[in-house]
Symmetry: C2
Subunit: 238 residues, 2 copies
């Protein structure tokens, strides 16, 4: 379920399979809505006008935007990431908003895909879709069960697997991220399981100052992805 002008526009732009567009009374007054409806109609998407009060009972948000689309899930297989050079693996991430932030930042940093495993959050949670700002419709996502199999497979493709931990890893900014890299992120409260860390090639930490114990996991993923992007722009210079 994609809610709001921006997210629905990204679904259409990303070529997602939009199964229907639902419009609340007064949608004509919403900036950008007319263009989205026009795009949807010209793409052959069926549009439905809702009776008053229906959107409020259907949408996930308390004050819903006046349009909402039902979009088919577009999962990829892990094999599609065989030639990826930047991947994020979520192993235990639970908060839908955090997952959306990871999607948004990973795509913006130029990642090739995101793998969700190990009882991570449902990527199709409406909060995730919203927080991704539409990135869910552009970044290839793979949903897998166990992290162990994922890490073994991507390791076989020459992707260096870097476990992100809050303490005692190598300073992330001193790690060469120029080659093929996957960042592996854990649970908000408990971090990564030790067997997942063991299955990685290296362990990286973002040095923190003061009394801070950890960063928000979406922030940590973002800092790592943008450090990889920075190093690549700088031609591997660290």
């Amino acid at each position: 379920m994609a809610e709001g002008v921006k997210v629905v526009a990204e679904a259409l732009a990303g070529g997602a399979s939009v199964e229907g567009l639902y419009l609340a009374p007064g949608w004509e007054g919403s900036p950008g809505a007319a263009r989205v409806v026009e795009q949807a109609v010209s793409s052959g998407v069926r549009c439905f006008a809702l009776d008053p009060g229906v959107m409020e009972r259907t949408a996930d948000t308390v004050t819903p935007q006046p349009l909402l689309a039902v979009v088919g899930m577009a999962e990829r297989s892990l094999d599609d990431l065989r030639s990826a050079s930047l991947v994020v693996v979520c192993a235990g991430l639970r908060d839908p908003g955090n997952a959306g932030v990871v999607l948004r930042s990973a795509q913006a940093a130029g990642a090739d895909g995101l793998v969700c495993c190990h009882e991570s959050v449902d990527l199709y949670n409406p909060k995730t879709v919203r927080a991704s700002a539409g990135a869910l419709f552009h970044l290839p996502v793979v949903v897998e069960g166990e992290a162990a199999g994922v890490l073994e497979q991507i390791g076989g493709w020459g992707i260096r697997r870097m476990a992100a931990v809050a303490h005692e890893g190598q300073d992330y900014s001193e790690v060469d991220m120029a080659g093929k890299v996957a960042f592996v992120l854990g649970n908000e409260a408990n971090g990564l399981d030790s067997d997942v860390v063991s299955a990685c090639d290296s362990v990286v930490t973002i040095p923190l100052q003061g009394r801070a114990e950890s960063l928000n996991v979406g922030v940590a993923a973002s800092i790592l992805c943008f450090e990889a992007a920075r190093q690549r722009r700088a031609g591997g210079r660290r």
Copy 2:
């Protein structure tokens, strides 16, 4: 209002003026609660046992943690940041969760303070306090009205003011952040007002790839602060 074991513990550790600690029935079963209560009692904080159902009606969260503290606001004056070397200025930030993320990351990156102005969010919103993971009780915060006066004053102290914009600024990673720096961040939807941008010394942008139009503002603040921290660890090397 500080909710939950972690945030209340940080309030006590940060020497905040905790005016009262409120305990829901069954608090003894919450991990870490006993230690927090012990700390509170030994600091002379009054503790109150709540009747069943009171916490649910009082706390901001849907499933509240079993303890909550009322804590005095501890605003500083801008003058306290006179010798700061890393400052974040929020000019128009509206989302309480984003503000909490900015606080948490700024503190963790070693910032000396955060200034909130220009109709920015209330830093004492319960969502902000929670999302800050206690950073609100460690990072000096200043609340001011207009951004113009703040920027003029900190500029006079030799702090280079860097406006963060989504497009067409200088690549942030090519900017020298070794000296005294303030990052100036705008509104989630509209960014910074043009007069605020004009009042800054430089304009920086985090280069984005693909179709991404912008980053979450909390993420953008975090990437900038940790780039400053990285450059400083590297001895000014960019």
